[in-house]
Symmetry: C2
DNA sequence: ACAAAAGTGTTTTAGATACACCCATGG
DNA sequence: CCATGGGTGTATCTAAAACACTTTTGT
């Protein structure tokens, strides 16, 4: 039997997945489809989310939602904002959907985002018809989910400049150029390869491995890993005022 | 008649007020007191907060709460986190209080913080017995409000390094040393006056006025103001990766 | 041998840091 | 005239920015 739900509080999850091959930052969305008497009433995409249970924390709800969608646990997650406008679920399709599902139109959602690798998710036979979309090329979205995604993206852009969360989007072993590509994808900027390379290699917590890429069709690159342990040991808060 | 409340969703407000005279960053707290048959059951402090109304946004709830407590409107506010652990209101005093007030023990709160000047609030005859406390010397707090305050403070510390929100805590006309004192209070650090002064004066949106302090007992200092307009005009996002 | 991506150095410029004394004013 | 806080200048160092060619490898 399902635990008791809180009917007016949900958690919505923006699942960011980086595709290292296409160099694309993607968002995982599920299909929202409803038809009646041959007529398609609702046909768009939404974030995955669910009501909070009476006996769980918000973090637990988020973890549960991700696991239900992808099977994954222990991924980086961040609660970034609550959305609670009274009109956030009130466009026509949303009302049809809500009536059909029987939940509260005045629902407040606590939004999280997750950072993981597209490759880690197997979407074959996904029961929600989940699909990856580039964050810069989203489909038609239900509810206020476009807004939620864009705010998550903004937070990610800011945060990746000051915290080493970028490595959550990459495999354990990566090349310098892959990190650069990722920054460029997220931030939508061009970075000078020489300067970037020097800067990154200088960090003591970016560790050169005794390994190179295998199975690439051109010159294989040096592999590196990120040591969270070393990062935290040497972390020193700097109070640089930059206004 | 009071609008309909959402019984399990509240907004709590961390009201930061800077006292330019004592150079103290303070938090405004209200008294929580309950006695029965001569026995004091609850006697501590809490944040101000209230349930969200059915027909208002979360921002509107926060604004309303601040107005009710201080009479002030149009102050800088920021929604910074939602707190929703099932056990967040379950220590003994909290349960007594909740039973007495008749609200839901599984309440999720959306926490905001406000930035203003201690001087702008008149606490004479305040109906909530509101009182300022230095953020570094808080009294005994009910619910999970100490945690909420500390998280708000962390967010403020981070944010004041990269956004010009510091000026929300100062009068319109201020001296360079007042800004320095404020940074030092918030961050708990010492700053070199010459370097700080040079750096601040160089900014084009820090405007020297044709005015000096009046009524001070020593050499009056040059007054400056902050131009949000100029700041926004010249604002250029920098993508400095600092991990 | 060639295509493709990996990798490499130097110069300039901007800003952070460190540091100690004189000055203007009100009392 | 003196106590107090306001205000000032320079030298060093670190890191960012700008910039183009050579090397390695798989095919």
């Amino acid at each position: 039997m399902e635990p008791e739900k809180i009917l007016n509080i949900s958690v919505d999850c923006v699942v960011f997945g980086y595709d290292i091959n296409t160099k694309s930052l993607n968002v995982l969305l599920i299909k929202r489809f409803l038809e009646r008497e041959e007529e398609v009433l609702v046909n768009d995409y939404v974030l995955t989310g669910y009501h909070v249970y009476q006996k769980e924390t918000l973090d637990e709800t988020a973890t549960r939602v991700l696991k239900e969608l992808t099977g994954l646990t222990d991924q980086y997650k961040k609660q970034f904002k609550a959305f609670g406008n009274p009109d956030r679920l009130t466009n026509e399709k949303d009302l049809i959907w809500i009536r059909n599902e029987g939940f509260n139109s005045r629902t407040i959602t606590i939004a999280y985002y997750f950072l993981l690798k597209t490759d880690d998710v197997d979407l074959k036979n996904n029961k929600y018809q989940a699909k990856w979309f580039p964050v810069n090329d989203l489909p038609e979205l239900g509810f206020d989910h476009e807004k939620i995604i864009l705010e998550a993206y903004e937070d990610l852009k800011t945060k990746c400049l000051s915290e080493p969360i970028i490595f959550k989007l990459l495999p354990d072993k990566f090349t310098i150029n892959e990190v650069q590509d990722l920054y460029q994808s997220i931030l939508g900027i061009e970075i000078d390869n020489r300067n970037f390379r020097r800067k990154l290699i200088k960090k003591k917590y970016i560790i050169a491995l005794d390994e190179k890429q295998v199975g690439v069709s051109k010159r294989p690159a040096q592999l590196y890993m990120f040591s969270l342990d070393l990062y935290e040991k040497m972390f020193k808060k700097n109070y640089l005022i930059n206004i």
